[in-house]
């Protein structure tokens, strides 16, 4: 199961992802990310409630960072409570961390 919630009015705007960041949901997530990125210039993608992640999900996070670089938009991915999970899959897959992956969101 995967759910997203976009808080467009927040400063900066925030997209919360909840549940499985995995192949089964990457299409839906892709659409949600595109919508959010198109809507604002500054975006925080929060993975705080992500419960699992696979290679397809991880790949999508890299695509977000690449988009941010290209579009000059300010996009930050914040792992929050999923930080350990993200670190584990990065280590396991031998991939370096996406460059827009940051620390916790300053509340």
């Amino acid at each position: 199961m995967m759910r997203t919630e976009f808080h467009a009015t927040k400063k900066p705007a925030q997209l919360d992802i909840e549940g499985d960041l995995s192949f089964a949901h990457v299409s839906d997530l892709h659409a949600a990310l595109l919508t959010a990125c198109d809507a604002v210039d500054e975006l925080v993608v929060s993975l705080d409630k992500v419960t699992s992640i696979d290679a397809a999900g991880l790949q999508l996070l890299f695509a977000v960072c690449r988009y941010a670089d290209k579009s000059k938009k300010l996009v930050q991915i914040v792992p929050g409570a999923a930080s350990e999970r993200i670190d584990r899959i990065l280590e396991f897959s031998g991939l370096t961390s996406p460059n827009c992956l940051a620390g916790d969101i300053a509340q």
């Binding site: 990310l33 999508l60 690449r66 996406p98």
Partner: protein
């Protein structure tokens, strides 16, 4: 840690060992032409000699070895069968490499050697077919790199594979999760996964269900390439997979470093060599230049750096492990150690004696504690000196092969008990005597195929070399299924030469022992192989010099067995100290069955020259009269029952003193011919004691009884 000295000296030493291995592999291949281990072994030996020779700029040696190696690449790849002719040629090449090595050592260059190089090279090139060699007779890097790919790589120990893995775009859709593959690979050994995400498009362009990831995986494992490949079995048709061996254990080639960054990138096909060369000319850091010039991405540079560090670490670890588990030590140093331990043993005996004399309990306890430690050091130092007889035996394979060919005979050599260990010095002393015996067996013992057929024997004769433990001795046997010795003919010859008389008091063994008399031969014509009896006397002398004995068993048309009994070690023995008159004698403990008070023993036999030893009638020898010791025997003479191969005799001495361990010293020329004495020891108080030659005494006593 290598104790041998300079790198060049180490190379020479190890090249010699590799040539020995090469010879063994070739001999094995001749018997089993399809034996992959021997093919790989021969190839590896040649490859290592060439590689190491290259490091020392030994061009002649490298060039020649390279051609031979190239032929063995073809053999390994199944393109060239192993034939008798190829083995012949390869053995000649082995000898020639040895020659080149000697010339490299001396710095001389013989024109005859150069000519031999040329001729042998031509002969090998004829086996290369259309596969041309690189310039200057060296195979190009490309050819070398290509060679292992033709067949599955089966590492001898650990090796490191570089696996380039690009999953198919639809791999997520088809359920071929690449992370599961990485997981399975990790189970095979040590792994470094370097993931590449450079192909991932941005959010606008990405097809989220497509896989854009790829990996370079470094896997260090002792599994073969096929096992590694099996992991990819379900994605083989769709994914791109490239597996290369980038590092394997090579004992000679410098291990601590690894390829430079640019070389790794060229190796991986990520840049062209010309691009690398253009970047190298710049003074900046090569990685930066390559990225700046757009030849590679930063990710590729980082990946290559990771590979460089990974392999360096693996090598460094291996080197640490190797150096901490084995060291090479010169035999001379081991000899010195054993000698010093021997001196230590003697010195301790002196200390123990003083402790006894002073009747000081503390002193005595310390001396006893010291004895325990010395025993451990002694056992360890002797153990260090032991080597398997395989080293000795396998050296005769070539001799048997060449000699049977020269004599137009068919002989197969069988080795048994090769794991039996003997003192390195004993092995060295046995080399020549065994060589001589084997020559005689092939020359005079084993018949030609025609004669064997006429006798109803298989045309191929068998020569068996075997070794086994027997108490504190090792018995080495040379057994042939040849014509056997003509005992009557030897007897006649003995009478003719006046060595024996015409009486019937000589046992078969006595007569057979005549072949060890100087100049004794029944052959009318000398051959250039084993001559005219010159040598068998030397054989016996050499064997006796190391405390050994030699016996013969023979049966006409069935064969001959020569059994050589030798002590396990020449260094230190445990013995029982006994006294006859004022003289002291040491009896090797390993031969002693039992010690008895003579008065408790019942004599038997007509002349009272036998004893009843637990129901067995056993001859005995009064050592006082045997050695002509003057004076009267003690009040309580003792009987020491000794046995050699179940043959028992009793030895009568005046008194038994104590157990004693000591270093055996040679007696020198004066006592060389004293029968029954094999050496001397120096006791703790400086007094000498004589070591009894039990083997000889058993023989003399039992022969006397027969007469």
């Amino acid at each position: 840690m290598n104790e041998l000295g300079s790198p060049l000296e180490t190379f020479r030493e190890e090249a010699r060992e590799l040539l020995e291995q090469l010879e063994q592999n070739l001999m094995q291949l001749e018997e089993h032409p399809g034996d992959h281990d021997s093919i790989d072994g021969a190839f590896r030996a040649l490859h290592t000699i060439k590689g190491s020779g290259n490091m020392f700029d030994l061009d002649d040696l490298v060039g020649f070895t390279h051609i031979v190696e190239a032929v063995f690449v073809r053999v390994r790849d199944g393109k060239l069968p192993v034939s008798r002719e190829l083995i012949d040629l390869s053995l000649q090449a082995r000898d020639h490499i040895s020659r080149l090595l000697i010339e490299a050592e001396s710095g001389s260059r013989d024109t005859a050697t150069s000519e031999r190089s040329r001729l042998l090279s031509m002969a090998f090139e004829a086996h290369l077919g259309d596969e041309a060699l690189g310039a200057s007779g060296r195979r190009s890097d490309e050819q070398d790199a290509a060679a292992p790919k033709d067949s599955e790589h089966q590492p001898e120990g650990e090796c490191t594979y570089r696996i380039e893995f690009t999953p198919a775009a639809d791999s997520f859709l088809t359920g071929a999760n690449p992370l599961l593959i990485l997981n399975e690979l990790a189970e095979l050994g040590t792994i470094l996964k370097i993931g590449y995400c450079e192909a991932i498009p941005d959010l606008k362009e990405i097809e989220p269900e497509h896989c854009y990831l790829r990996w370079v995986i470094l896997l260090t494992t002792d599994h073969g390439e096929n096992e590694v490949r099996d992991i990819f079995i379900f994605v083989e048709g769709s994914a791109e997979i490239k597996i290369d061996v980038i590092d394997e254990v090579d004992p000679l080639i410098g291990e601590s470093g690894y390829k430079r960054l640019g070389e790794i990138l060229v190796d991986r096909g990520e840049i062209e060599r010309k691009d690398l060369e253009s970047a190298v000319s710049s003074k900046s850091y090569i990685g930066e230049v390559l990225v700046k010039k757009g030849f590679v991405s930063e990710e590729q540079i980082n990946s290559a750096l990771k590979e460089q560090n990974y392999v360096r670490d693996i090598r460094e670890n291996r080197r640490t492990v190797e150096t901490s588990t084995t060291i090479k030590v010169k035999v001379e140093k081991l000899d010195e150690l054993v000698n010093l331990v021997g001196e230590f043993v003697t010195m301790h005996a002196g200390i123990a004696m003083v402790a006894d004399r002073k009747n000081d309990q503390d002193f005595r306890a310390a001396a006893e504690q010291m004895e325990g430690l010395i025993r451990q050091v002694r056992d360890l130092s002797i153990e260090l000196h032991m080597v398997p007889v395989e080293i000795l035996f396998s050296g005769y394979r070539r001799l048997v092969r060449d000699l049977s060919e020269d004599l137009s005979k068919q002989v197969q050599l069988k080795l048994e008990g090769t794991e039996t260990e003997l003192d390195k010095n004993v092995i060295d002393s046995l080399k020549d005597p065994l060589l001589h015996i084997i020559r005689n067996s092939i020359d005079h013992g084993i018949e030609s195929p025609e004669v064997r057929k006429r006798k109803g024997k298989p045309p191929t004769g068998t020569l068996r070399l075997s070794a086994y433990y027997s108490g504190a001795s090792v018995v080495i046997q040379v057994v042939d299924d040849g014509a056997g010795m003509d005992v009557e003919r030897i007897r006649q010859k003995g009478i003719e030469r006046g060595v024996i008389d015409n009486s019937d008091r000589y046992s078969e063994q006595d007569i057979l022992q005549l072949i060890f008399a100087p100049g004794f031969s029944t052959n009318e014509e000398a051959t250039n192989v084993s001559g005219r009896g010159v040598g068998m006397d030397v054989v016996r002398r050499n064997i006796e010099a190391i405390g050994g004995s030699i016996r013969i068993q023979t049966e006409k048309d069935v064969g001959t067995t020569l059994s050589i009994r030798i002590p396990l070690t020449l260094a230190i023995v445990d013995g029982l100290l006994s006294r006859i008159g004022d003289s002291l004698y040491l009896i090797n403990l390993s031969y002693i069955v039992e010690c008895l008070d003579l008065k408790d023993v019942r004599t038997a036999g007509n002349g009272g020259d036998m004893i009843d030893f637990r129901g067995e009638i056993v001859p005995f020898l009064d050592l006082r009269s045997y050695f002509g010791v003057e004076g009267v025997a003690g009040e309580h003479p003792q009987l020491v029952v000794v046995a050699i191969e179940e043959k028992k005799i009793g030895l009568v001495v005046d008194a038994l003193l104590d157990k004693y361990q000591s270093v055996i010293k040679s007696l020198g020329k004066i006592y060389e011919r004293v029968e029954g004495i094999s050496g001397a020891i120096i006791l703790g108080d400086g007094k000498p004691a004589l070591m009894l030659d039990v083997d000889r005494l058993v023989k003399v006593t039992r022969d006397e009884v027969k007469k």
